[in-house]
């Protein structure tokens, strides 16, 4: 319980650190919101026009004043207004987040459904041909960049079968579950492939470690059937590193999968933050990064809680 409180207490500090880092970083990059909007034609502005635009984008005050203003508003739950969307930042984020969350969940489901059994199978058939095949497959899965995999999928489907998922807009799950799934399944597979490969490799090596532990040998010597030993005794322990890897990966995915979102033209968080950076939409970049950091911390916390659930010894120590 103490650990939980300590972890929660650290949240604001981490968020403050992240926010100041992002605030400075986005402003250190050459080019500002004015040149992002006008391109080379920004050179045609008179000083008075420049001043008017700077005031509009809030660039006319010193950084510290801008940061302080932003932070004060943040404490009142106000993340500012996005200049691109003309809407409150939080509203824009929450509009894009369901897609990202769903894509992350779907990718993780694919990864775990494929990765865990594959890893267990490889470990229990270590050094046999099937293990080798799975290991090579996992290596290929992990080393193939997602854009290559995605492009191949798009090309094969469109050129070979004449079909393609809907692109550009997003159909929410509750509005039309089938359309929603049709749209997300390929991007989820693209992301899930590499994710599954990682899970397979981790599950295999963790399982191998666990299988050589004393308690497994004891269980075996007591005549517990092999299947029971693997699934009931060994697997829960072997899952701990799998949970760690999946948690980190899932946390990343909640920040948006920029490349896959670009490729399949999905309006998710990753593409949104990329566009916001390119368009120097400061409030949106700051707000989104903060949101992503918050999610990452929550996921991390959940991962830790899962350890406790999987292994009571951790609870005793904590």
């Amino acid at each position: 319980m103490n650990t939980l409180i300590r972890r929660l207490a650290a949240f604001p500090l981490v968020l403050l650190g992240v926010s100041s880092l992002v605030f400075v970083a986005i402003r250190l990059v050459p080019g500002d919101a004015i040149t992002a909007m006008l391109g080379t034609q920004a050179g045609l502005l008179t000083p008075a026009q420049k001043a008017a635009l700077a005031a509009y984008f809030g660039l006319d005050r010193p950084w510290i004043a801008q940061y302080w203003h932003w932070l004060r508003a943040l404490l009142h739950g106000d993340l500012g207004i996005s200049v691109t969307y003309g809407k409150p930042v939080l509203e824009v984020i929450l509009q894009r987040f369901p897609l990202t969350l769903e894509l992350a969940l779907l990718s993780m489901a694919i990864a775990l459904v494929i990765g865990v059994p594959a890893g267990v199978y490889a470990a229990t058939h270590a050094e046999r041909r099937s293990d080798l095949v799975l290991r090579i497959g996992a290596m290929i899965g992990q080393s193939t960049p997602s854009f290559v995999f995605g492009l191949v999928i798009i090309y094969v489907l469109s050129a070979g079968f004449g079909v393609l998922p809907a692109m550009g807009t997003f159909t929410p799950l509750l509005k039309d579950p089938l359309a929603n799934l049709g749209q997300l399944i390929l991007p989820a597979l693209t992301l899930g492939a590499a994710f599954a490969a990682a899970v397979t490799r981790i599950a295999r090596s963790a399982m191998l470690d666990v299988l050589s532990e004393d308690y497994v040998r004891t269980a075996r010597s007591r005549g517990v059937p092999a299947r029971g030993v693997i699934w009931r005794h060994a697997l829960p322990n072997a899952l701990i590193p799998v949970v760690t890897v999946s948690g980190i990966e899932f946390g990343y995915l909640l920040g948006g999968a920029v490349i896959v979102e670009q490729l399949f033209a999905l309006p998710g968080l990753g593409r949104m933050v990329l566009d916001a950076i390119l368009q120097r939409d400061y409030a949106l970049v700051q707000g989104t990064v903060l949101f992503i950091a918050f999610n990452f911390m929550v996921v991390n916390l959940l991962v830790d809680l899962t350890y406790v659930w999987l292994d009571p010894r951790i609870r005793a120590r904590g």
Binding site: G31, M37, L44, T46, Q49, A52, Y85, L164, G182, R271
Partner: protein
């Protein structure tokens, strides 16, 4: 795989992917895609090509440019210069209405131009209309612009959506840029930035009924995915930028590629304020050494035309008549020697990643061309915004750029090459002759004399070689064969979509 099996699997895939994903679509909805979305809705303030493309469908200026870049009616049905070029009178089309049903009147025109000229609006295009001294509105259908000096190019400049006519009421309540109320062929129904927009036909458009009732636009950042979407019929019509992708389109059955020569220009900007580009002979040597056709063929697959400074067909000089447009290595080496750089020198060229798609390839070809006269070129690729920042500060030795063209040479180059040009700090080059020729061209009302003045300007500018003009690219739209009637524009406008129909 047997045919039946393949058929079945196709069916299954279609069931999962295609059918549920398509919303019920009208027979006359055009599904369209582009890789870059508009960045804002205020027509007077937007400068990005992507924004202009969208806003030209929603807003109208007083006049428009047709496919031959000639000024044709839009909100105004007729116009005339008077008072020796110092006044410009427009008679408005009595049918012109905004999408809210209100008529477009002379007071809307006056309010729009006053907003454009107000420095607080911060419209970059304001510089094209500075000669407007006052605006008179004798009646609701007549507007008279009184100019401080004769200004012939202002008419073509008014054909830009940056000079769009907005409802005076929207200007007053400050809703321009949030609510898009224009008098163009379409109305904006919804906009999700960087994702999608929906346009519906404007029932009040003075131009009559549009060919389609609705245009659904999707932003698909990857142009290969755009071609895949065209192939499968997910979209009917798309804008493409990358020649590598565009040239694939005609190979796909059921797809057409519409190429339109553009008046934008790809150019190698030298910085004459930096040594040794300060030396005329060095700049000329660079001009003689670069094989422009080779740059075009290698970097842009030959998709375009070698160009001199002026790109509008009505004024452009035949490139073969321009200084050193036939590559001449011997002359280039001789010029380098005369300038005291027989052994060459090292310089850096900047280019923006993907802006245009051919930028990096252009830089590489130029690098190998200049190596032949001993110039060692380092290529520095930059993200667009970083590049723009360096460009505006003229913080470069050389820069690969794609600059927008204008139908009138004065409007196109006054900003760079007159003594009062507001981008002179970027070009860092002018001389008495350039300055004088441009100003003569501005006030001259006789078309033949204007042509002669700008021909002289073209020759002189190419010979002084502050920049090395390379080629004008083609612009592309790809469409499915059931899309009919699209006419492209050298300015890249998609106004032609108002006439597009879908074959049932």
């Amino acid at each position: 795989m047997s045919t039946t099996k393949k058929g079945l699997s196709t069916l299954a895939l279609a069931a999962l992917l295609a059918i549920p994903a398509i919303a019920p679509v009208h027979a006359d909805t055009l599904k369209m895609a582009w890789s870059q979305d508009a960045t804002g809705l205020d027509p007077q303030k937007q400068t990005a090509f992507s924004s202009i493309r969208l806003l030209e469908l929603i807003y109208e200026p007083l006049v428009r440019l047709d496919a031959k870049l000639e000024v044709v009616p839009a909100i105004a049905k007729s116009w005339a210069f008077g008072d020796g070029g110092k006044s410009l009178t427009f008679h408005l089309d009595p049918k012109a209405s905004f999408s809210n049903g209100e008529a477009v009147t002379s007071s809307d025109v006056k309010a729009s131009f006053e907003r454009l000229l107000d420095e607080k609006t911060a419209a970059a295009a304001r510089s094209n209309y500075l000669s407007i001294a006052s605006i008179e509105t004798p009646d609701p259908e007549t507007v008279i612009f009184k100019l401080s000096q004769p200004d012939v190019p202002i008419l073509a400049a008014m054909a830009s959506v940056n000079a769009a006519i907005l409802p005076a009421s929207a200007i007053k309540d400050g809703s321009v840029g949030t609510k898009a109320i224009g008098s163009g062929p379409f109305m904006l129904k919804s906009w999700d930035p960087n994702a999608s927009e929906v346009l519906v036909a404007n029932p009040h458009w003075a131009g009559g009924k549009t060919g389609v009732d609705q245009i659904d636009i999707s932003v698909l950042p990857d142009e290969t995915a755009i071609v895949a979407a065209l192939r499968t019929g997910k979209i009917d019509f798309a804008l493409l930028n990358d020649p590598l992708v565009a040239t694939m389109v005609p190979k796909v059955s059921g797809l057409k590629l519409v190429r339109t020569p553009s008046i934008s220009y790809n150019v190698l900007q030298l910085n004459p304020s930096r040594k040794p580009m300060t030396e005329l002979k060095v700049r000329q040597a660079i001009s003689c050494a670069i094989d422009r056709k080779a740059v075009l063929d290698t970097a842009a697959l030959g998709e375009g035309k070698v160009t001199g400074p002026i790109t509008a067909p009505a004024y452009a000089t035949d490139p073969s008549k321009l200084f050193c447009y036939k590559p001449d290595l011997a002359k280039a080496k001789e010029l380098m020697k005369e300038a005291g750089y027989a052994k060459g020198f090292t310089a850096t060229v900047i280019a923006a990643t993907g802006e245009p798609a051919t930028a990096e390839a252009e830089a590489q070809v130029i690098q190998s061309e200049l190596k032949k006269i001993g110039i060692k070129l380092d290529i520095k690729m930059m993200q667009l915004n970083v590049y723009v920042d360096a460009w505006l500060k003229a913080d470069f030795d050389m820069a690969v750029a794609l600059n927008g063209g204008r139908p009138d040479p004065y409007t196109m180059y006054n900003r760079y090459f007159t003594k009062t040009g507001n981008l002179l700090k970027v070009s860092n080059y002018t001389d008495n002759e350039l300055d004088s020729l441009l100003n003569q061209g501005r006030v001259e009302t006789d078309p033949a004399k204007r042509k002669a003045i700008f021909a002289k300007f073209d020759l002189h500018l190419a010979e002084m070689a502050p920049w090395i003009w390379l080629f004008t690219p083609d612009t592309y739209v790809a469409e499915r064969s059931d899309v009919q009637g699209f006419v492209g524009s050298p300015m890249g406008s998609l106004f032609g979509l108002s006439a597009v129909t879908l074959k049932k």
